[in-house]
Symmetry: C2
Amino acid sequence: MTFFPADIIEQTQRIITDFSARGLMVSTAESCTGGLIAGALTEISGSSAVVDRGFVTYTNDAKMDMIGVTTATLIAHGAVSRETALQMVHGALYRSQAAVAVAVTGIAGPGGGSTDKPVGLVHLAAKSRSGKIIHREMHYGDIGRTEVRLATIRTALDMLVEAAD
Amino acid sequence: MTFFPADIIEQTQRIITDFSARGLMVSTAESCTGGLIAGALTEISGSSAVVDRGFVTYTNDAKMDMIGVTTATLIAHGAVSRETALQMVHGALYRSQAAVAVAVTGIAGPGGGSTDKPVGLVHLAAKSRSGKIIHREMHYGDIGRTEVRLATIRTALDMLVEAAD
């Protein structure tokens, strides 16, 4: 029926049902997943009650323009960093009507990795209007571009639920 | 390897290869597809040379805040209309660094349809900095939410190529 892996659709179905009942809306800021977190959430019928908006901030300019990541942060820590993920999620939350936001930035590969920041490294952050902030640094490994992106979606969805608790 | 249908990955692979060679960047504004056009483009390794950013404008507020759709247009024509699609693509292009943009707004279903605007109706627009504008009104029919979204991705990718010619 859907082309997303079944476990991701089960996750998004639970989120849409639960958040919809609680009147919680969500926004996303996505770099390495390129829109797929929002894409997975909106695969569910009724998601318009929950999904406010999504920022696909693929370039550094997009991260700065759309969700207020600073040049200083990008220079000091790089686009794939805890600091950038935290600025991304802050912008995604406060430049939206959402109650909870999630942001991801990472290296899906196969190119772009380095010794310090290998393929499969992803920084994720979730934040709620009630003040809860969660950060995770994931090392999925060099498991393939698609698999890194899918793993990132799964972690991001888990973090949305945690941040909304 | 990837979870997107193979024909979509072939389309996005061709776009990334061709646009990358021509130095063309792309932005997207997505309502009914919820980020999947950007998600499909970024499934391709090397897409960071082509994908500038994406706007997932699921709510009317998001369409207004993020890409400058006007209240007057939404009231007069509705979110799923030629006029809204054209304003969306204008905003997506000029609020980005892209040379070409595509925008989609439609009714994926299963709910939300009416006699005037049935499930499967999607308005798409593409626009280039060189001044080319394309609009299409598609009636995919009540073929299922996922299938409407996949069909919309296919048309949107075709229009990106046309607008860039």
